[in-house]
Amino acid sequence: MKLLCCYIALCFTSSIGATIIHYPPTPNMVSGNSFIHPSVHYKIWCQQNGGLWEELFVYEMDARHYTNNSNTTAWVNFSFDGSARIRVERMNAAIDYAWILPAHAGAGISASGGVAEVQIDTAGQYSIEFENSRFITNPLLVFANAPEENIPDSTAANLIYFGPGLHQIGDKYVVPTGSTVYLHGGAYVQGQFYAEDGDHITIRGRGILSGEDYAARTADHMIHMRNCNNVRVDGITIIHAPRFMITLGGSHHYISNVKMMGWWFSTDGTSTGTDALIEHCFFKVNDDAIKLYQSRTVARHCVIWQMENGAVFQLGWNGNNDYGDCHVYDMDIIRVEHVWDNENEAVICAIHGGRGIKQNFLFEDIRITHSNWRIFHLVTRPNRWGNWDTNRGEMGNMIFRNITMQDAQSLPSLVMGHDAMHTVYNLVFEQIVTGGKSWTGARKEIIIDETTTQNIIVR
C-alpha cells in the first residue's frame, strides 16, 4: 500500500511536471499576414522529462522598415515548470551553427541532422541563433514563462477579461482605476490601453497586444497611464508599437516578464514613474529600451536586443527636475545593432539638455554580446527636447561596475560636459572589459573631455 501510494504520487508529480502550457493561434495568424503568421522558418517541439514531443505554434512577424536588420522575428511562448527540452527544425536552411543567448543561461545546444536541441532549466527569454553574426536575418526567440499564478476567473469583479481569440479594442481602451486586465495566452488584442489618474491597475496574462493598426508615431503608446500609481504589467507580449511600449506616469510601478518587440524608431520600451521596478523583461526594440527618467527606478534581470536605433539605458535628453537613485543590474544585452555615430547610440546613454541634476546611478553586472559599438555616451548638451538653462543642468555620482562586452568597441565611449556650468562629475568606471581587455589604464577606450568633466575614474 505504501508502495502504491508512492507510485501514484510519482505518476501525479510527473504528469504535472510534464505539463507545458502553450496557447492556440488566433484566426488572423495565417500565412500572408505580415503582422503575425505561422513561422515559415522554424518548427519547434518541446519535451519534458523524456516524454512526448509536443509541437508549439511558432509566431512570426515581418520587419516593418528598411533600416531593420532582421527580415522577420519568430517566437514561441509557453509556460512551464522544471526544465524543458526544445527541438528546432530550421525549415529552409541547413544548420551549420547553433547557439543560445544569453550564453550563461543556456545549458548547451546541440545540432545534428537539420535539428537543434537545447535544454532550458530556468524560466526566461532566450534567442536561439543559427547565424553567427551581429545581424541576424531570421531571429528566433523562446519565451519560456514560469507557470501562471492566480489565473482569474473570467467573471471576477473588476476584471477585464480577454479570452482566447482576436480582439479589437481601438487606440484608447480606458482601464478603470482598481481593475485588472487579463490577456489569456490565446488572446490577440489589437489596440492600446490607456488610463488617467488611476490607482492599482494591473495588465497581465500570457496574451499578445499588437499595435499593428497604427503606422509609426501616428498613435499613442501601447500602454499609456498618466498619473497612475501602483500599476503592474506582467507576462504579456507587446508587438508592433507605433510609439513606446509602456509609458507610466505616477509612482510605484512594477513591470515583469513583459516581452516587447517593435520595429520603428520611437518604439521605446519602458518609461516609468518614480519607484518603479522592471524585471525579467525582454526587449527587442528600435529606440531606447529602458528610460531612466525618474527617481528610484530599479531595472534587473532583463534580456535586451537593441536594434539599430536608441540606447539600451537612456538617462534622457531633457529633464528639468532633479532625480536619481537608480539601480540597474544583472542585465544581458544580447545584441546591439548600432552602426551610426548618433548621440543616442550607446548602451548607457545621456544627452542631458535640461536644467535638472541627475545623480546617484549604479550600473553593475551587465553582459553585452554581439555588439561592437560604444558602451557609454554620457554628455550634457543643449538639444531640442530640453529647455536648456545656461546656469544649471548637470549629472554625476555614478558607478559603472563589472560591465563586460564580448567584442571591442569600434568607436570610443564618450564622457563630456557642455561648459563649466554643465559638467559631468564623479563617475567611476570599474571592471569594464571590452574585447577581453580591461579598461584599467587604457584611456583610448573612452574619450573624457577634461575641460568639462570632473573626477572621472577608470579603474
Partner: protein, 793 residues
C-alpha cells in the same frame, strides 16, 4: 638659460669650424671620378667653393635616354652664386628646371651662373639635351648632426663604407651619413619605430645590379621613420619602402636606371616633402591613406608614373594630397597604361577616394597626362575590382617639349556599372597655356558607361550655362529636390542667384564613418537639377590638426564690400570629437575663390548657424545660435575678429513665455525692417518656423504674426530613403531633426524660402517654396509644404 645657449653655440662653432661657414661642400670619395662634362663653383662673400660632381653611368643603356646622370650636393645658407662651366663642346641655350622656380641663368662663354637664396633641387640643361643631365642639390645647412659616440647612432664619416650587404636598423636608431660618405649596402629596419636615416651622404646600390630588391626598407611595424637629406643612388629596385605609419621623407634625393626602380612607397599618413626623384618606374606611390606629397620634383624616365594611385590596392584608401610639385621631364614613349603622369590602373578590390592634386606643373612631356582606369591586371588578384572616386586636379599646368599637342589621349575608364570612376573634377588645367574647357575636345577619352561625373571646371565665368536660362520662364519643381545633390543628403541650404545661375552651399552628409570632403559649391539653371561646381574649401588642403580640419556645417557666403565672405560652423573631429562647433570665416576676392581663412587659429566664437548682416550704420554683424539662443556681435571681416562680445538678442530673457529652444537664425532686411526668421522646438516633436521684426538690428524683435510660417510634427517626417544605398544602413538618419529656413531673393523682386526636408529615417534634401512680403509687412506662404511648387516669371 640664454647665456648657456650662447656658450654652447660658441663651443660647437669652435670645434667644427666648417659648420660655421655659410657654404659647406663635401669631399670626393676615393674611387668616384669627377665629372668630365661640368665644373661647379659656388661663391659667397668673395669666397669660392668647388663642389664635387658625381657621375652615374646609365645601367640600362638600351632603354635609358640619358647616358649619365651627374649631380652635386652641398649645403648653404644666405645667398650664393652658382657657376656651372660646361667643359665639353659649345652650347646655345641653357635652362634651369623646374621652370616654375623662375631661375634665369646668365651666360659668360661656356659658363652660366645664377643666384640662390634658398635650398632647391635643380636640373641644369644645355640645349635641351638629356644625354648628360646635371642635377644640383642645394641643401639647407645641416642641423642636429648626431654625436658619433651616441650608442643609438650608426655614424658613417666621409669615404666609402661597405660593412655588409644589409645594415639593420633598430627602433630609435639613427643611421647618419656625413657629406662625402658613401654606404654601399641595403638598409633594413624591422620593428624600427623612430628610426632615422639622415645626412648629406649617399647610399649606393650599384654593386647589386638589377636584383629588384628594395635598397632601403622598413617593415610595417616601423612607425615614425625619418628620412632626411641623403641621396639614394643607383638602386637595384625600389628606392625606399616604409610600411609603418607617418614616415617622413624630407629633402631625400633618389636616382636610378632600371625598370622597377620605383621611388617612395610609404604606409599610412606618410609625408614626402622637398624631395627629388629621377626614376624609371612609379616615382611616388599614393597607395596608403593620408599620404601627402609637397614641393617635390620628379624626373620621370622611360617607364612608370610620377603619381601612381593603384595597381592592386585592396581595402578602402582615401585622403591623398599632392601639392606644389614639379614634374620636369617625362621620357615616356610606349603605349603601356602606366605611361601617364596621374595614373591609376586599379585592379584591387578597394575603393579609392579623395585625391587632391593641386598646383602641379608638368614640363617636357609629349605623351599622356591621365590614365585613370579600373581593370584587372597582372598584379591584382581581386575577384572584382573596386572603384575610384573624388579626384580633384586643380591648377595643373602642362608644357610639352616643343609646344605641340600631347601625343596620347588621356583615359578615364571604369570597369563596369559597379566599379566606376566617379567624381573626377578638373579645375584649371592648362596645356601649353591653353585652358582646357572641354575634355572630349582636349584630348580625353572618357568611357561614359563606366564613369560618372567626370568634368572640367574651366575657370571663373559661366557664360555658356548662364545663357540657357531665360528670366521670363516660370520655374517649377517638386520638393524635396535631390537631383545632383549628395547621395547621403544635405542640410542647411544657403542659396543665391548670380548671373542667372542659382548657387547653393550646404552641410554635406556622408556615408557613416567617412570624412566629409569640404565645402562644395553647387549650381543650377532651374533649381531642379544641381551639379557640383567646385570646392570652396577642400579638406585635403587643410592641416589635419587645424581646428576646422574636417567638419563644416551651415556655410553661408555673403558679398560685402566687394569681398566674398564665407562663414560656417566647424570643428576638428579627430582632435575635438563631439565638442561644440566654432564659427569660422574665410574671404575671397572672387566668388569661386581662392578663399583665405581669416580664423586659422581659433574660431570667432563657439556657436552654430552663423549668418552675416550689415546694420544701419554699415557695420557687419555676426548672428548665430548657441545653446538654443541667438547671439549677435559686430565682426571685422578683414581680420576675422569679433569687435565686441556677443550679446543675446533672442532667448528666454527677451521672449519670456514665448521662448522655446531656438535654432538657425537668419536676417533679411526688407522695407526698412529686419526680419529675423528661425526655428523653434516644442517638446522636440513639434517644429515651428516663425519670424520676428525690428527696425534695429539688435532688436527688440516683436512678432508681426503669432501664426508660424510653417509647422512640422514628427509623424510627417519622411519614412523612406530617397536614394539607393548599397547596404540598408549605409547612411545615418539624424537623431535631431534640425530645420533651417532661409529666405533669398530671386529675379530681383521675388523671394524663395529654402529648407531641408524633415527626416526620421530618410536623407534630408532641399525644399524650396515661394514666399511673399504682404502689404501689412507679414510674410505669406504661397503653397506651404506642397510638393509641387511654382515660381511665376
Amino acid at each position: 638659460m640664454g647665456r648657456y645657449c650662447l656658450l654652447l653655440i660658441f663651443i660647437i662653432g669652435a670645434a667644427q669650424a666648417t659648420l660655421y661657414a655659410a657654404v659647406v661642400v663635401y669631399p670626393q670619395p676615393a674611387g668616384y671620378a669627377a665629372s668630365k662634362d661640368y665644373r661647379i663653383v659656388i661663391s659667397q662673400d668673395g669666397r669660392q667653393y668647388e663642389t664635387f660632381i658625381y657621375v652615374s653611368d646609365a645601367q640600362f643603356p638600351k632603354v635609358n635616354k640619358s647616358q649619365t646622370t651627374q649631380f652635386s650636393s652641398f649645403s648653404f645658407t644666405g645667398t650664393i652664386t652658382i657657376r656651372v662651366e660646361k667643359l665639353q663642346g659649345f652650347f646655345e641655350r641653357c635652362e634651369v628646371l623646374p621652370t616654375a622656380k623662375n631661375i634665369k641663368p646668365l651666360r659668360e662663354g661656356n659658363t652660366i651662373s645664377f643666384q640662390l637664396s634658398k635650398p632647391e633641387n635643380l636640373a641644369v640643361e644645355f640645349d635641351k639635351s638629356i644625354q648628360h643631365p646635371l642635377l644640383i642639390f642645394a641643401n639647407p645647412m645641416e642641423s642636429d648632426i648626431p654625436d658619433p659616440t651616441d650608442v643609438n647612432v650608426m655614424y658613417f664619416g666621409p669615404g666609402i663604407h661597405q660593412p655588409a650587404d644589409t645594415i639593420f636598423l633598430k627602433a630609435n636608431q639613427t643611421l647618419y651619413l656625413a657629406g662625402g660618405a658613401v654606404l654601399r649596402s641595403h638598409v633594413y629596419g624591422a620593428n624600427a619605430t623612430g628610426a632615422a636615416i639622415k645626412g648629406r651622404g649617399i647610399i649606393d646600390g650599384r654593386r647589386f645590379g638589377h636584383t629588384h630588391g628594395r635598397l632601403i626598407r622598413f617593415d610595417a611595424q616601423s612607425h615614425d621613420v625619418t628620412l632626411d637629406g641623403f641621396i639614394v643612388l643607383d638602386a637595384p629596385g625600389y628606392y625606399i619602402t616604409s610600411g609603418g605609419k607617418r614616415t617622413h621623407a624630407n629633402n631625400v634625393k633618389g636616382l636610378g636606371w632600371w625598370f622597377n626602380t620605383d621611388g617612395f612607397g610609404f604606409g599610412e599618413d606618410g609625408l614626402i616633402e622637398n624631395c627629388f626623384l629621377k626614376c624609371n618606374d612609379d616615382a611616388i606611390k599614393l597607395y596608403n591613406s593620408g599620404t601627402r606629397v609637397l614641393r617635390t620634383t620628379i624626373w620621370q624616365m622611360e617607364n612608370g608614373a610620377p603619381f601612381q594611385m593603384s595597381w592592386n590596392s585592396n581595402g578602402n584608401r582615401n585622403g591623398f594630397l599632392v601639392k606644389d610639385c614639379d614634374v620636369i621631364h617625362v621620357d615616356h614613349a610606349w603605349d603601356n597604361p602606366n605611361e601617364g603622369v596621374f595614373v591609376a590602373i586599379h585592379g584591387g578590390n578597394g575603393h579609392l577616394s579623395d585625391f587632391l592634386f593641386e598646383d602641379i606643373r608638368v614640363e617636357n612631356i609629349d605623351w599622356r597626362l591621365f590614365t585613370i582606369q579600373i581593370m584587372p591586371n597582372e598584379w591584382a588578384k581581386a575577384d572584382h575590382p573596386g572603384s575610384v572616386s573624388n579626384l580633384v586636379f586643380k591648377n595643373i599646368t602642362v608644357t610639352t617639349t616643343q609646344g605641340l599637342p600631347l601625343q596620347r589621349l588621356s583615359v578615364i575608364q571604369g570597369y563596369d556599372s559597379q566599379s566606376k570612376v566617379s567624381d573626377v573634377r578638373i579645375e584649371r588645367l592648362t596645356i601649353n597655356g591653353n585652358l582646357v574647357t572641354d575634355l572630349q575636345a582636349d584630348g580625353f577619352e572618357i568611357n561614359a558607361a563606366t564613369t560618372k561625373n567626370v568634368f572640367v571646371v574651366p575657370a571663373l565665368s559661366k557664360p555658356a550655362r548662364a545663357a540657357s536660362q531665360s528670366p521670363i520662364d516660370s520655374l517649377s519643381w517638386t520638393n524635396p529636390i535631390t537631383t545632383g545633390l549628395s547621395t547621403y543628403g544635405m542640410q542647411d541650404f544657403f542659396l543665391w542667384q548670380q548671373d542667372n545661375l542659382f548657387y547653393l552651399l550646404a552641410t554635406e552628409k556622408v556615408k557613416p564613418n567617412r570624412k566629409k570632403r569640404g565645402i562644395i559649391l553647387y549650381s543650377s539653371t532651374n533649381l531642379k537639377q544641381w551639379r557640383e561646381e567646385q570646392y570652396i574649401l577642400n579638406r585635403l588642403s587643410f592641416d589635419s590638426l587645424a581646428w576646422f580640419a574636417d567638419e563644416w556645417q551651415a556655410p553661408e557666403l555673403h558679398k560685402i564690400n566687394e569681398k566674398y565672405v564665407l562663414v560656417f560652423a566647424s570643428r576638428n573631429n579627430t582632435t575635438h570629437p563631439y565638442k561644440p562647433l566654432g564659427i569660422a570665416m574665410a574671404v575671397a576676392d572672387d566668388m569661386f575663390g581662392p578663399y583665405t581663412m581669416l580664423t586659422p587659429d581659433t574660431p570667432l566664437t563657439i556657436g552654430n548657424n552663423p549668418t552675416l548682416q550689415t546694420d544701419e550704420e554699415g557695420h557687419v554683424q555676426l548672428l548665430f545660435d548657441k545653446d538654443g539662443r541667438f547671439y549677435m556681435a559686430p565682426v571685422d571681416i578683414s581680420n576675422g575678429q569679433l569687435l565686441a562680445p556677443p550679446k543675446e538678442i533672442l532667448g528666454p530673457q527677451t521672449m519670456g513665455a514665448d521662448y522655446r529652444f531656438l535654432d538657425a537664425p537668419q536676417l533679411t532686411k526688407q522695407r526698412g525692417l529686419y526680419y529675423l526668421m528661425f526655428t523653434s522646438f516644442y517638446a522636440g516633436y513639434v517644429v515651428k518656423v516663425r519670424y520676428m521684426v525690428s527696425a534695429n538690428i539688435a532688436g527688440p524683435y516683436r512678432f508681426l504674426s503669432r501664426e508660424p510660417l510653417l509647422s512640422f510634427v514628427e509623424a510627417e517626417a519622411d519614412e523612406n530613403v530617397k536614394m539607393p544605398h548599397r547596404n540598408r544602413n549605409g547612411y545615418a538618419p539624424p537623431t535631431q531633426v534640425i530645420f533651417q529656413h532661409r529666405m533669398f531673393p530671386v529675379r530681383g523682386n521675388k523671394w524663395l524660402m529654402s529648407y531641408h526636408s524633415s527626416e526620421k529615417y530618410s536623407e534630408p534634401y532641399l525644399c524650396l517654396e515661394p514666399v511673399i512680403f504682404l502689404p501689412d509687412g507679414t510674410i505669406g506662404m504661397v503653397a506651404p509644404k506642397q510638393k509641387a511648387q511654382l515660381l511665376l516669371p
